[in-house]
């Protein structure tokens, strides 16, 4: 759970930084997107590097889901009779919503790939012009797309808030003082990632980027 999560977190950081290139203009953003396909040339032909990266991400996602499923099945087996009266949440809200939050994020990722990678669900849908795709996607009249992205990114924020802390704990964070720091780092990181991802659709929505 922790190791695959860390791989995905590293991807998220790179993805967010790449997204922010949208503020540097269409040429810079498109140039960055084309450069991604060219990394490793000429040692690796075509878009091999990108495909190696994608394969690594798929392995991490599958490992993450597999570990989560094992934990969920064990949890279900461990309590065959449910409580008649159950306090909703006493610990952390983020922790109790990890599983459904993860499902929401998975569905969002599938939509997101069809939208901005393959272009099937995008009004422009031209893989050679990613800037145009992004601007068309978050146009004010398509507010429901922005809303869905916002819901998904906030779900991701909650997921990261508990996930980061939990990963540090699984890897041996062991003092009460360290726990306070780990929780603060996890919260700060989740907020930064949320803000970094949401600033792009909202910039398009408000006309800051067009």
């Amino acid at each position: 759970m922790a190791v695959s999560g860390i791989v995905l977190v590293l991807f998220l950081i790179a993805h967010m930084l790449g997204n922010l290139k949208v503020f540097a203009g269409a040429a810079s953003f498109d140039g960055y997107a084309h450069w991604l396909r060219d990394i490793g040339k000429p040692a690796l032909p075509g878009v091999w590097f990108l495909w190696i990266l994608r394969a690594g991400l798929v392995v991490a996602v599958v490992a993450h889901i597999w570990a989560a499923t094992v934990l969920a099945l064990r949890a279900r087996a461990a309590r065959p009779v449910q409580y008649a009266h159950r306090k909703k949440i006493q610990g952390s809200y983020a922790a109790r919503t990890m599983r459904w939050g993860g499902v929401i994020i998975l569905l969002f990722v599938i939509y997101h790939l069809l939208d901005l990678t393959t272009g099937h669900l995008n009004p422009v849908g031209d893989p050679t012009r990613p800037f145009a795709n992004v601007v068309a996607d978050f146009a004010p009249e398509r507010w429901y797309v922005t809303l869905f992205y916002t819901v998904a990114v906030v779900a991701l924020g909650f997921h990261l808030r508990h996930g980061m802390f939990s990963a540090l704990r699984s890897l041996g964070q062991q003092t009460p003082g360290g726990e306070r720091r780990a929780r603060a780092v996890a919260l700060g990181f989740a907020v930064v990632i949320c803000a970094g991802f949401l600033v792009v659709p909202f910039a398009v929505l408000t006309g800051l980027v067009s």
């Binding site: 309590r79 008649a84 009266h85 704990r169 003092t175």
Partner: protein, 253 residues
């Protein structure tokens, strides 16, 4: 105080069980929760009914026998308190109180509110001890222990094994108990020789007993009557990772 109680009644391990409603009148706010159940049971006995079975022993909050899910809270609404030390002043006149046993596959219900916590004994038997020659107590000053380690070990050793952590855990995991029992020894010099076989053996026994896996949700530490911190599980994880790297050791004998 007049209270309505909804109590889980189950005649034996094979019975399906159900919630039954009882009315208890004239409850003093100074009674403990278990004394209130005693009053109910006396009334039930007088009227020829089967009294409600519940576990208890010292009634001083240190033996770990009592354990009730009260309105969905393990040991009731007051933090850092066992059910026997919970007083009726925590409730209001006219309240309806739901009382259930701990729910976990590893804690099968024996009768009514009594569960079998033998699975905790199995975890202890898998390594929760040190192997030393018995005899007269050694000179205490001959083995120095750093103050910070002594304090942290004592914090873990405060665990009374009541099972509230399992009852509250959304995964039905007993990891806070296991972590407390592992780290009270791994922090002390006397626990070092068996440190890494202990953690592997006890976590294996925990998993075999049918407890769920820990996801660091933190519900356990909230209800723990002894306030065992969640970071205890981090100590266990660190020992477990170190032990996994040391191949060739035989887990708990």
């Amino acid at each position: 105080m007049n209270l309505t109680l909804r109590i889980w009644r189950q005649t034996g391990p094979e019975d399906k069980g159900r919630m039954v409603t009882y009315q208890v009148d004239d409850v003093s706010p100074d009674m403990s929760f278990l004394e209130m159940l005693d009053v109910l049971n006396e009334r039930l006995i007088l009227s020829g009914e089967e009294p409600v079975a519940f576990d208890h022993d010292c009634r001083e909050g240190i033996c770990g026998m009592c354990g009730l899910m009260i309105n969905g809270n393990a040991h009731g609404p007051q933090r850092g308190t066992t059910a026997c030390q919970l007083h009726m002043r925590q409730f209001k006149d006219g309240d309806t109180i739901d009382i259930e046993p701990w729910r976990a596959r590893a804690f099968p219900v024996i009768k009514d509110l009594v569960v079998d916590r033998n699975s905790f004994d199995q975890i202890i038997a898998a390594g929760g001890y040190i192997t030393v020659p018995t005899g007269s107590a050694p000179e205490a000053h001959s083995v120095p222990v750093a103050k910070a380690n002594a304090d942290a070990a004592f914090e873990s050793a405060a665990c009374i094994g009541c099972g509230a952590c399992v009852a509250a855990c959304p995964n039905g995991s007993g990891m806070l108990f296991t972590a407390a029992k592992v780290t009270q020894l791994s922090l002390l010099p006397q626990g070092q020789p068996e440190r890494y076989t202990r953690v592997i053996g006890m976590v294996d026994a925990h998993d075999e007993a049918g407890f769920g896996g820990c996801t660091n949700a933190g519900e356990c530490t909230v209800v723990c009557p002894k306030g065992i911190p969640l970071s205890t599980i981090g100590r266990l994880n660190r020992d477990y990772l170190a032990a996994s790297a040391k191949r060739g050791d035989t887990p708990g004998t």
